[in-house]
């Protein structure tokens, strides 16, 4: 998997480069919009991470030019602007996802992977399976080690989301977006509460815990 990073802040760029290399990606870096555009046009990438504020050519224009040339590399926009308007503008221009600075690296990684998966379009499964936990998407039946688990709708969508991202950390923001389709932070940690309930149903009666909290980052579902 080859990824293009267009980011002028060298500190941010270096931590993304390091992280993505460790995650097994091949990655090219451009420090300004023009170089980024040149690379994006001439090289085949599986995904691109593009900052909005760039020297020489801003990110939105870059994406616009790419889309104008019918290059449909999935793009994640990085921005220091948080408002819903900027987000909508970014997505309308042709970005596929939007991440606000400061962000956690695990969130970026999860989003990049989700984008690549989406664009390679693996056939839609009707059954998810992690360890001894399985989920029938059509009948909404969940079984762990032969024992049936009953979940309420939001618990179900959270578990489905965690299972689809098996082994990857998902942040609270990502859960809010996917489970409730919310774009603002509620004061109380509703995600925490939901995860706690899910844990009670999925993990409590079993020896091995599957849902883990990564402090300060988010949650991950995996079997050790």
């Amino acid at each position: 998997m080859r990824i293009l990073l267009v980011e002028d802040d060298l500190n941010i760029a270096s931590f993304i480069l390091k992280g993505l290399k460790e995650a097994g990606f091949a990655i090219d870096h451009a420090a300004n919009g023009e170089d980024g555009l040149h690379l994006a046009i001439n090289e085949p990438y599986d995904a691109a991470i593009i900052d909005i504020m760039l020297p020489k050519l801003d990110g939105l224009t870059l994406i616009e030019e790419l889309r104008g040339k019918k290059i449909n590399t999935p793009v994640i926009i990085l921005s220091a602007k948080r408002s819903v308007d900027d987000r909508i503008k970014g997505l309308q221009t042709g970005g596929d996802d939007y991440l606000t600075k400061p962000f956690s690296f695990s969130e970026l990684l999860a989003r990049v992977e989700a984008l690549i998966r989406r664009s390679t379009r693996t056939t839609e499964t009707t059954r998810l399976r992690v360890g001894d936990l399985s989920m029938e998407l059509l009948t909404r039946k969940i079984v762990r080690a032969g024992k049936k688990i009953d979940l309420q709708p939001r618990e179900f969508s959270l578990l489905e989301y965690l299972m689809r991202n098996e082994g990857r950390v998902v942040s609270k923001t990502m859960i809010l977006e996917h489970v409730w389709d919310y774009n603002f932070d509620p004061q109380t940690d509703v995600v925490d509460v939901l995860v706690c309930r899910l844990r009670n149903k999925v993990d409590r009666d079993f020896d091995e815990r599957m849902i883990h909290t990564i402090r300060g980052v988010g949650y991950v579902l995996e079997v050790s």
Binding site: V84, W180, Y182, F184, P186, T188, V190, R215, G216
Partner: protein
């Protein structure tokens, strides 16, 4: 220096107005003079022509009755009495040989010989003969008489020219004060018309750093300048609110971020102390992450509050059904309420809707819900109630919690206010101030009623749409 100020002057509207006004004034006076001059000169020349024509007819009749002698006698009489309007008279024989001519002595000299070269017809023909010094012209009418002799009567333009010259002199003499008057009038008008604008300019100039309270004096005229001044003051008011709001929020951001930053710093410092094992370091780093997460959340909320308070928050207004909105909020907090064993009771009037920014109002309602859940002890009840009043829609969130002391009631909407009894609860202390900011941005208001020990009711009032249902 002088040149530069001159160049600056040339750019001003007053200068342009002055130039235009005086230009138009001067041009129109010139035009009037020119017309008058033209009319005068044509009417004078017409008068001369008529006089010459009359005279030549008179003389030709004389010649016809009395021949040359009578004609000569007439001319002699004319010479003797020196009539006011003298004529040039010439009689020529068959070969155009001068038989006799008379020219008044006061006229400049003409080259009479030229007249001998011309031929003529029985009708009157006109000839123009310049003087030797080329200043005037002798206008001559010629007519062939019955015996083929030629009679010519003429008149110098000298008299006419004298009147016109006088006229021109008057024109030049009056034009100089006229031009001055034009400039002075133009300048006066321009300065007078632009005086309120200069007031405006001076005020704007004085609105500098630290002088946001200056306002333009508003003329009670109701004209365009009144409008401009009113608009300008309105703009200044808005800017003042914005600047003060920004300053306040910057102050509070700086203040509010100090506490979590101190914690962040503390965690990092402890981790760096010698003798810590990897596990403890990891713990400290996680603390740092959590703390920075909280700071980010706080920063975002503070930004939202100040955006809403200063009126720069963009609201996507659309019809919002209150019952759907409450359902949405409940959907989010249901599990939290369940965990705390709270009973939530909902009473919403049918077909209740407002025009508002859905996400923002949802956020406000979520914060109220959040607040109610936080301060209601386990096993308590929360009532969500919404109804319509004549011009507004009211949403009440009633908890059965600890209540708020009377003296704290007005302060609960302030930033970072947390009641003395609530210090044990987690939260940023920004939730309710965001509620107030969002509701105010929608031109609504918030209210609170509380009985300590029994619970509080927090209400938001949103302006209702004209139609009862959408």
């Amino acid at each position: 220096m002088f040149l530069r100020s001159l160049r600056n002057l040339r750019k001003t509207v007053s200068f342009h107005l002055t130039v235009w006004y005086s230009g138009i004034f001067i041009l129109s006076s010139l035009f009037l003079f020119a017309i008058a001059y033209l009319l005068l000169s044509t009417s004078l020349s017409k008068q001369d022509h008529e006089a010459i024509q009359l005279r030549i007819e008179e003389l030709s009749t004389l010649y016809q009755t009395g021949g040359r002698e009578l004609l000569e006698r007439e001319v002699t009489i004319e010479k003797k009495f020196e009539k006011k309007l003298p004529f040039f008279i010439r009689l020529a024989g068959r070969e155009n040989k001068t038989l006799f001519f008379y020219i008044p002595y006061q006229w400049a000299e003409f080259d009479i010989k030229q007249l001998e070269k011309m031929t003529s017809t029985t009708s009157i023909t006109w000839t123009h003969l310049p003087t030797k010094n080329n200043r005037n012209v002798l206008e001559v009418a010629s007519i062939r008489l019955f015996n083929d002799s030629l009679l010519q009567v003429g008149k110098s333009t000298e008299d006419r020219e004298k009147i016109l010259r006088h006229f021109r002199k008057i024109f030049t003499v009056t034009m100089i004060p006229l031009i001055l008057l034009g400039f002075a009038g133009g300048a006066f008008l321009a300065l007078r018309a632009l005086r309120p604008i200069r007031h405006l300019i001076n005020t704007v100039r004085s609105v500098g750093p630290g002088r946001m309270d200056a306002r333009v004096p508003i003329p009670q005229t109701g004209d365009e300048l009144y409008e401009l001044a009113t608009l300008f003051n309105g703009m200044l008011n808005k800017i003042e609110v914005l600047i003060n709001g920004m300053r306040d929020s910057l102050d509070s951001v700086a203040h509010d971020l100090r506490t979590p930053m101190t914690r962040l710093r503390g965690a990092a410092e402890i981790a760096l102390q010698s003798g810590k094992n990897a596990e403890e370091c990891k713990e400290a780093l996680a603390d740092c992450l959590e703390e920075s997460e909280r700071m980010l959340k706080m920063l975002n909320t503070l930004m939202d509050i100040s955006e809403a308070e200063t009126g720069v928050m963009k609201l996507d207004q659309e019809p919002v059904h209150i019952s759907a909105l409450i359902e949405e909020v409940l959907d989010m907090y249901l599990y939290v309420a369940e965990e705390k064993d709270l009973y939530i009771n909902i009473t919403v009037a049918d077909e209740l809707s407002v025009v508002a920014d859905r996400t923002r109002v949802c956020q406000a309602l979520a914060n109220l819900m959040d607040n109610a859940i936080k301060y209601t002890p386990s096993g308590g009840q929360i009532d969500l109630e919404a109804h319509r009043e004549p011009n507004q829609v009211v949403i009440n969130v009633k908890d059965s919690g600890i209540g708020i002391p009377q003296e704290d009631l007005p302060r609960i909407w302030d930033r970072l206010y947390r009641g003395t009894q609530s210090s044990s609860h987690q939260g940023l202390g920004l939730g309710l101030s965001l509620v107030r900011a969002i509701v105010s941005a929608h031109k609504g208001r918030v209210e609170v009623l509380s009985k300590p020990g029994k619970g509080s009711t927090l209400s938001i009032y949103l302006p209702a749409t004209n139609k009862p249902s959408l």
